[in-house]
Symmetry: C2
Subunit: 164 residues, 2 copies
Amino acid sequence: MPEAPRPPAANVHGTKMSEEHDERFFPAVFKEVVGFHLRIAQEASFEAFGVMAGKANLKPGWYALLTILNEAGSMTPSELSKHCGRDRSTLTSTLKALSARGLIQRERKSDDQRSYEVRLTAVGFDIQRRLHAIAIEHERRLDEILGQDKDMLLTMLRRIASRI
Amino acid sequence: MPEAPRPPAANVHGTKMSEEHDERFFPAVFKEVVGFHLRIAQEASFEAFGVMAGKANLKPGWYALLTILNEAGSMTPSELSKHCGRDRSTLTSTLKALSARGLIQRERKSDDQRSYEVRLTAVGFDIQRRLHAIAIEHERRLDEILGQDKDMLLTMLRRIASRI
DNA sequence: ACAATATAGTTTGACATCCAACTGTTTGAG
DNA sequence: CTCAAACAGTTGGATGTCAAACTATATTGT
């Protein structure tokens, strides 16, 4: 436990977040604020996934990218950028890292000398498969937490993403 | 629109995300994955807030911090760190920036020479108020999108954050 | 009382991310 | 056909984040 187990220090203004673990408070004003709860839920979920992946020495940030490539077969960095929602320049370094570790390979395109196709190597497929297994496991935990309300949640999250 | 309006380039493997704006696709595997939708909804919401705040030349990242201080009166960096869920070292630079712009002031503590209390200045209160107004507006947009399902969503998000 | 331990804040280093500017390539309007 | 505009990828600079190491101060066990 990284933070102090000191007396809760004047809880007049905050609301307790988690019944069990470390004290985490938040301003009372945020109690009903969707954006805030969206953020903490997302961070909690990502953190939990990261813990599972970290135990296997895998980078959770790779998962989306490898999965996109796994489905698509191959893609240019710009396409990849659109599909994963990150800037093209962000992908430059990520792809360099993935390439250096032998998870992907680049093939120069014959019809456009500016660009190249990225595809998974055998190692890349393997890592994708292992990360996917973790994702399945993670999703199972969320299923348990959400029960029959899961579809409702997905619907609302999609609505936010598409309509805001 | 930052990205190319080229032909959608082989949509065999992706699912369209937003009917209107830029093409954004995602792997079919993620279609029912809570973690993924949590992430895109959170990013969309934060981005929308950022646009509104950016127009007023305000940093959205300051909002939580200033609001916590507004409610609490004063706090040490470590307490602030726990309340906003960021590492203590992250706060060092943020507080330096807020201090440099005159939004907060530091007071050495008499009973602990290692630490100090942070509190809002008049300017800080003003910026907090303006960011809060933006947050209210943002929340109103989300209310419109979610309608009566908002409470349901909040309940589920809280459940994820507390139980995962 | 004092040595060992814990804590508060900072510094440094590693990433991920964005944007703006740059290089080389392709396209398209005239 | 040519050259200006669009585009692909990269580079560099800024910010936000964390973890680990560090400095100074407090607390605690004996």
